[in-house]
Structures are given as structure tokens and as C-alpha cells.
């Protein structure tokens, strides 16, 4: 499932790369779509050239490829989410285990980027997704429904960045002029979660 997750994320980012770059052109440096598209192509290459033997290896290998190959801020940020998940994920993988690992991944990216919810970053999509997963585990819902809830929470989180004023990254230099635009990092994070819901077993 993890390989399929990255393949689907790559497909969605490739499909939406112009939208992501357009969002980034409004408040950033207009490279988010291209960078992430290239990064996920490198992830695909890495997963094909060295077929991973476990879910943990998929996450670690994908995270490393993103860190090494993206070139923009989204590489180290997404890379640290997946590498941290790979570090703490226990096998066999359960929904509860996945949810706990995802939560730690989000903490890792918050720490690396020194970003908190409300700063108009990918955290504004990832943190609600993480909370939705934790609630789904608590309520004992199935995997597919849990991932769908996480995807919905991420999409809503991304949309909620539109009225926010950016406090991190290049967009923060724009001050109030960053208001009214969806954060490209939150938008791509929502795509990652949408991909997860699509490949759910």
C-alpha cells in the first residue's frame, strides 16, 4: 500500500503541478509544482531501482529521495515527515500504528520548519489530517473511512489557509498581501492525503 501511496501522490501532483505552481507564483517563488513533481519522480525511481522490503523502507527511501532531490523547502519538509514516520512505524502496520507514526511525522515537520498551525503552511493541512486519523482510531472506524476522513480534513485545512496571513517562508515577507491565497504547501499536503484515501485497502 505504501508504494501505491507514493505512486498515486506522484500522479496527483503531476496532474496538479500547474495549479500548485500557480498558487506558489501568487505568494512564493513559483516552483512548488515543478519541484514536488520532480521529487516524486525521483521517489518513483528510488522505489523501482531498490525495491523496498518493508513499509518502513518505503517511507525512509521516499523521504530520503525527497530531501535529496527536490531542491526547494518542500523537500526537507516532506522528507522529514516520511523519514520520521519510517523511524517510528511498527510492523505489522495497523491503523493505530500508522496514525501514531503520522502524528510524529507532523511533529517532525513542525519542529524542522518551526511552524505551528495557523502560520499558513503545509502544517495547516497535515495537522487536521493527523487529528482526523487519531479520532478515527479512537472511534474504531475502518481503514478506508479513516483515510477518507483524513483526506477531507486535509482538504478543508488547505482551504482554510486562504484567509490566513503567512508567518513562515517567503510568503511571510508579503505580510497582509499573503491573505486571500491558498498556501501551496497545504494544497500539496492535501493531495498526499487524497492519494492515501485512494489507495486505502
Amino acid at each position: 500500500m505504501f508504494v501505491a501511496w507514493f505512486e498515486e501522490a506522484a500522479r496527483l501532483v503531476h496532474r496538479d503541478r500547474e495549479r500548485l505552481t500557480r498558487l506558489d507564483a501568487a505568494i512564493g517563488d513559483a516552483d512548488h509544482g515543478t519541484n514536488l513533481d520532480r521529487g516524486l519522480t525521483e521517489v518513483h525511481k528510488a522505489l523501482t531501482e531498490w525495491p523496498p522490503e518493508s513499509p518502513v523502507q518505503v517511507l525512509t527511501s521516499a523521504g530520503t529521495a525527497l530531501i535529496r532531490r527536490v531542491g526547494g523547502a518542500s523537500g526537507p519538509l516532506y522528507g522529514s515527515v516520511f523519514r520520521q514516520m519510517g523511524k517510528v512505524l511498527e510492523s505489522p502496520v495497523t491503523l493505530a500504528g500508522f496514525s501514531a507514526a503520522f502524528e510524529e511525522g507532523v511533529v517532525a515537520v513542525e519542529r524542522l520548519g518551526k511552524a505551528a498551525p495557523g502560520d499558513k503552511t503545509m502544517v495547516d493541512a497535515l495537522a487536521p489530517a493527523s487529528r482526523a486519523l487519531a479520532l478515527a482510531v479512537r472511534d474504531g472506524v475502518g481503514v478506508r473511512e479513516a483515510f477518507e476522513q483524513a483526506a477531507r480534513a486535509a482538504a478543508e485545512g488547505a482551504e482554510a489557509t486562504i484567509p490566513m496571513q503567512a508567518r513562515k517562508g517567503r510568503a511571510s515577507y508579503l505580510g497582509e498581501r499573503s491573505i486571500g491565497h491558498e498556501d501551496p504547501g497545504a494544497a500539496s499536503a492535501a493531495l498526499f492525503m487524497a492519494a492515501l484515501a485512494t489507495v486505502a485497502p
Binding site: R68, G71, G72, A73, G75
Partner: protein, 124 residues
């Protein structure tokens, strides 16, 4: 001697900042540039930063001085407690302060402290 790596989005900016720091602090100070992506674009390459760290690492520690954004994030991923540290400082002023301190054989903590002092230097 403590090594320095100047990490910038731009290869040209990193290279010129290295030239300036060495010009002021002395050519013997190990300062290396890690600028731009591997294909020469604007951005950060982990490989270039790691290569630069190896080039300046004499065993006394290395200070990474990033400009902003992905340079900072990439530098932070490479931190090793007490051996490779990231300086949260203005790029040019911090690089020169650190290079001068490193050139005077200051230990890692002092080189970092000198760089950090540049944050509050007033020009006028």
C-alpha cells in the same frame, strides 16, 4: 581549525561570499560554498552541502551558515551535536565574523558565538 560552509540558494552568491570571507579572514580559513542545486538552478542540494562539509572538516567542527528557506531546512537536517552546527545569523556578516574567529583558532562554540554577535551589529 573550525570549518565553515556557506549555504545559499544561489551558487554565485555562495561563491562570492566565500571569496569575501576568505579575503577578510585569510585564505587559510577553511570556508566552502554550497550554493544552488546540482543543475545550477536556485535552491539547495544536500549533496553539495555534504560535499562542502567534507571539504572543510578538519576535525574541529563545522559551522553551516544558510541564507534562508530551504538552505536553513537542509542545513538543520545535517546538524550533528557538537560537531556540525547551524548558525542563525545574517549571511554575509555572520560568515565574516565566523571566518575571522575560525582563523584565530577559536573553538566551535566561540566561532558560533562570534557569528551570532553579528546579528545585533549596528551599521549606523
Amino acid at each position: 581549525m573550525v570549518g565553515l560552509v556557506l549555504v545559499s540558494h544561489s551558487a554565485g552568491l555562495a561563491a562570492e561570499a566565500v571569496a569575501l570571507a576568505k579575503g577578510i579572514a585569510g585564505a587559510q580559513v577553511p570556508v566552502a560554498a554550497a550554493g544552488g542545486t546540482e543543475d545550477g538552478g536556485l535552491g539547495t542540494s544536500v549533496d553539495l552541502v555534504e560535499e562542502a562539509v567534507r571539504a572543510v572538516d578538519q576535525g574541529d567542527g563545522v559551522v553551516l551558515i544558510p541564507d534562508l528557506g530551504s538552505s536553513v531546512l537542509t542545513a538543520r537536517l545535517l546538524e550533528e551535536d557538537g560537531r556540525i552546527v547551524v548558525a542563525d545569523v545574517p549571511f554575509v556578516e555572520g560568515a565574516i565574523a565566523a571566518a575571522v574567529a575560525a582563523g584565530a583558532d577559536a573553538p566551535l562554540a566561540d566561532v558560533l558565538a562570534s557569528a551570532e554577535e553579528s546579528r545585533t551589529f549596528r551599521k549606523l
